[in-house]
């Protein structure tokens, strides 16, 4: 992988892999890779998805409630009713269509039916399969944004922050239907804004309040707490401190966690009933809010209702520990598992000096010389590895379910991280999946067949990054599909 760091073409290909989703078959390389990355940050509405057909989180929550009501009514009608009048529960496309495991959960498919029922349920039914349908639509929009981006740097940042502030569709309780809306509403609008604004948007979003149980957390001494004898759930408060801001084993204590949990009691959701104003949206319920001042990390916050929590979040957002935590994660995600400390310091310094201006932090990342080490070091995650395959070969799948299914097989199911710390960002988490990647690469290559020329794809996708060994291996392959599979598996294509 000897590459001349001075060569702008090398830098251009490297930039696409390291900061984007890889070269595209139908796009030219930028003459000035750094300039192209910076220009992507300056595009109007960069990172946003404007698709009026997608549901807001409040609309999605209401739709889910309506769907469940209809289903309940159908159950009460009994088994004699014709199948058409019942909501269908299986995917409509047909019996041979395999649904991606990623769009399956107890939450979404309340009771799997037999194949025979699946056929009868294939009749059009507007209320059918609400959650898988919403998830698939959201996944498709997200997929298209990555597949069609010129470079995809902003989209990669969206993915990074979405994983940093992850929620999970496997949580149940209506989170699945909100995952896409959450990313569009809480992450994307702030991806080049200020960290503090993203933090507040995230921690007050219904998806997060449900995922980390704060919607039900009740101050023990609040009106509701005294009446019901129910109490605190400190899950969200802990993860905010440990994962979202300061970082684990930094400067907070158990007392800080508990007090902070008290601070954000009452942060909940308006029930998604259409007759209610702001149904399905965030609400501050003073009846559940723990009264009184709270001390969090050496400072006492007077009880100012929702603003008490807002003030704690603002403090956390500008804390040096948060700057270091975020800087380390960004550098690790884009540059190396163990990133150069000088790079982490630059990012942290920028974060602090600009009050968490994420566009400035992104600029610092792409202008730092440490970010341009010529040899690719990190394994791509399965999801962006697959997108880079599709971009390099000019494939534009209309149905992304097989892509989602492959993503599941490779251990990165969309919006279903194993835990609140999201998907891992180090090679050791993904390197064991090489044999599965080879299966996926082989299948992708077989589908592409001999319609694309491996040498053209090699030049597009790797160009000067390709080692002599890789070129030779591809040239000597016994067939075009084998050459393509080997190309997708080449170290330079797997790593960034």
């Amino acid at each position: 992988m000897a590459a001349d760091p001075q060569d702008p073409q090398t830098d251009a290909v490297l930039a696409l892999h390291r900061f984007g989703f890889g070269p595209r078959a139908d796009a030219k390389l930028a003459a000035d890779p750094r300039g192209a990355l910076l220009a992507e940050l300056e595009r109007p509405r960069a990172g946003s998805i404007d698709d009026p057909s997608l549901l807001t989180s409040a609309e999605a929550a209401q739709a889910l409630r309506d769907f469940r009501q209809v289903r309940k009514a159908a159950r009460l009608l009994g088994p004699d009713q014709p199948a058409e009048q019942k909501p269908a529960r299986n995917p409509a496309p047909g019996p041979d269509m395999q649904q991606a495991p990623g769009v399956q959960s107890p939450d979404m498919q309340p009771d799997m039916k037999s194949p025979a029922d699946a056929k009868s349920a294939a009749a059009p039914n507007p209320g059918a399969n609400l959650v898988p349908r919403v998830l698939l639509e959201e996944a498709k929009v997200r997929f298209d944004a990555a597949a069609t981006a010129d470079i995809g740097f902003v989209e990669r940042l969206v993915w990074f922050w979405s994983n940093h502030f992850c929620v999970s569709a496997s949580k149940g309780g209506g989170v699945a239907v909100l995952c896409g809306a959450y990313e569009r509403e809480a992450i994307r609008p702030q991806v080049l804004g200020h960290f503090a604004d993203m933090l507040f948007a995230v921690e007050t979003h219904p998806a997060m309040l449900l995922y980390l149980d704060n919607a039900r957390s009740i101050g023990p001494n609040s009106l509701a707490g005294r009446a019901r004898g129910k109490g605190l759930n400190e899950n969200l408060a802990r993860e905010i401190l440990e994962l979202h801001t300061l970082g684990v084993r930094t400067i907070y204590s158990q007392a800080d966690v508990t007090h902070f949990a008290d601070v954000i009691t009452g942060w909940t959701i308006v029930p998604p009933r259409a007759e209610l104003p702001r149904a399905g949206e965030f609400s501050f319920d003073a009846r559940r809010h723990e009264p009184g001042p709270q001390k969090v990390i050496d400072k006492v916050y007077p009880d100012t209702g929702v603003d008490q929590g807002r003030a704690v979040l603002a403090m956390l957002a500008r804390h040096p520990a948060t700057a270091k935590h975020v800087a380390t994660k960004l550098a690790r995600h884009f540059v190396a598992d163990d990133p150069p400390l000088t790079l982490v310091d630059k990012l942290a310094k920028c974060f602090l000096e600009t009050q968490g201006n994420l566009k400035e932090v992104a600029k610092t990342l792409v202008t730092a010389p440490e970010s341009w080490a010529p040899s690719p070091r990190k394994l791509k995650r399965p999801s962006d590895w697959m997108i880079s395959i599709l971009r390099a070969t000019g494939s534009t799948p209309l149905d992304i379910r097989p892509v989602l299914q492959a993503q599941n097989l490779l251990g990165e199911p969309l919006w279903r991280p194993p835990a609140p710390n999201g998907f891992a960002d180090k090679d050791e988490a993904w390197i064991d999946g090489m044999a599965q990647r080879l299966d996926i690469a082989t299948q992708a290559a077989r589908r592409l067949g001999d319609k694309v020329d491996p040498k053209t794809v090699l030049d597009t996708a790797l160009g000067p990054l390709a080692s002599a060994e890789t070129r030779q291996t591809i040239n000597r392959a016994e067939s075009r599909p084998q050459a393509l599979a080997l190309l997708f598996m080449a170290p330079e294509f797997q790593r960034r």
Binding site: T396, P402, D432, R446, R447, T473, R476, E478, Q482
Partner: protein, 408 residues
């Protein structure tokens, strides 16, 4: 790029493509011919499949890797000069019953040694690699007067699959079918990848090796060493070949089914540890033999109207290389099987194996043009017009006369 079908990335590996018409002329003769073309991608070692045991220079070329009539794994005698690889007992049985023919020292007009270009020439039927977007099989069909549209009962099944092999691509309508089972992960691809990783990325090499080691411990597919990758075991390859070919035969046998089909099997590029007698190539030949048996079984009464032709892009070096395998060569074999054949023959104008008789001093020299074999089959079996064969099907091939007398 073709818009993705719904099976897209994961499930698509369509290998059967079948023409939807019955040829009119042949039906007028009271026949209802079926033709199945099987392309072996990667270059079959023809000398290992059908060995010239009567050639005095043979054993010197291959040493203990040479297939002979005596030894631990003796070949199956075909005639006084040739023996079949013992991994192919079904083909041997068909040969002895007159339902299989072997053409040896055969090659396309391509004389370089690139797989991709060689496959292009083999499947397109034109001389220059990459010069044609259509294949000879498809073009042959366009020259036939269609009789009845045999697929009309199932119009919905008509679709051009996203990975139609070049040989079947073109203007004539084809339907595609995707076997329910995916072809198993390919040992050869895994070994090539591992070789690349060993030279460029030790961490990835270790990860892959560990997976392969685990698979060996699990005893997948009778591994001969701890380098055996997961999947792609001989049994899986065998099952995949038999299932694909058997299903193709079922389609071809249906009264209202298609009459012409094409399949492709990968994995024949045996540079290392070829294993012609008891290793990898023996397993592949055994799988191919099983596929032929499955075709015979599933064709049922249609077997007597069936011809199967097995082709590969080129052959391999006459000598064993430094890694117990063979490198890209020139002439090889074509295998023909089916009840429609006048078989029991090895057709070969044997070039000899002395150093000066070898192509470029290294390969079996081609003495028969593969196009002559295919043209003969297309003409006698499907009644493709001879002028069309020389102009449309194999352009500029007027000098290559169709081989005659292949059919019973």
């Amino acid at each position: 790029m073709h818009p993705a079908s719904r099976r897209e990335l994961l499930l698509a590996s369509a290998t059967l493509f079948a023409w939807a018409f019955a040829p009119k002329l042949a039906r007028a003769e009271g026949r209802d011919p079926r033709l199945l073309t099987i392309v072996l991608r990667g270059a079959l070692d023809g000398l290992a499949a059908v060995a010239p045991v009567g050639d005095p220079d043979w054993v010197a070329l291959r040493g203990d890797k040479a297939l002979t009539l005596n030894g631990a794994t003796p070949g199956l005698p075909l005639n006084a000069f040739f023996a079949l690889n013992p991994a192919m007992p079904n083909l041997h049985r068909l040969y002895r019953s007159g339902a299989a023919t072997i053409v040896h020292a055969v090659a396309t007009p391509y004389r370089e040694r690139s797989h991709f270009d060689g496959q292009d020439v083999l499947e397109s039927g034109v001389l220059r690699p990459g010069a044609s977007e259509t294949g000879w099989l498809n073009r042959a069909l366009t020259t036939l007067a269609p009789d009845i549209r045999v697929g009309s009962a199932r119009r919905d099944a008509f679709a051009v699959g996203p990975v139609t092999p070049l040989v079947a691509r073109g203007p004539a309508p084809v339907l595609s079918w995707t076997p329910p089972r995916l072809p198993p992960a390919n040992d050869d691809t895994m070994m090539r990848l591992l070789e690349l990783y060993r030279h460029t990325d030790p961490a990835l090499a270790r990860a892959l090796e560990q997976r392969m080691g685990l698979a060996a411990i699990a005893g997948v597919g009778g591994a001969k060493s701890d380098r055996r990758p997961q999947g792609g075991s001989a049994a899986q390859v065998r099952a995949y070949f038999a299932e694909s070919a058997g299903m193709a035969a079922k389609f071809l046998a249906q009264p209202d089914g298609p009459r012409v089909g094409a399949l492709a099997f990968d994995g024949w590029d045996t540079h290392q540890d070829e294993g012609a007698l008891n290793g990898r190539l023996a397993a592949l030949l055994g799988a191919l033999d099983g596929a032929l048996a499955a075709i015979e079984t599933n064709a049922g009464p249609a077997w007597r109207d069936t011809a199967v032709v097995v082709l590969t892009e080129f052959g391999r070096t006459a000598r064993i290389n430094g890694t117990e395998g063979t490198d890209h060569g020139t002439a090889t074999v074509a295998l023909l099987a089916g009840g429609a054949l006048k078989g029991g023959r090895v057709i070969a104008d044997w070039p000899g194996l002395k150093p000066q008789q070898l192509q470029d001093g290294r390969d079996l020299k081609p003495t028969t043009d593969l196009r002559a074999v295919v043209k003969g089959l297309l003409h006698e079996h499907l009644r493709v017009d001879e002028r069309a064969l020389a102009a449309t099907v194999f352009p500029d091939s007027g000098a290559v006369k169709p081989m005659s007398g292949l059919l019973a």
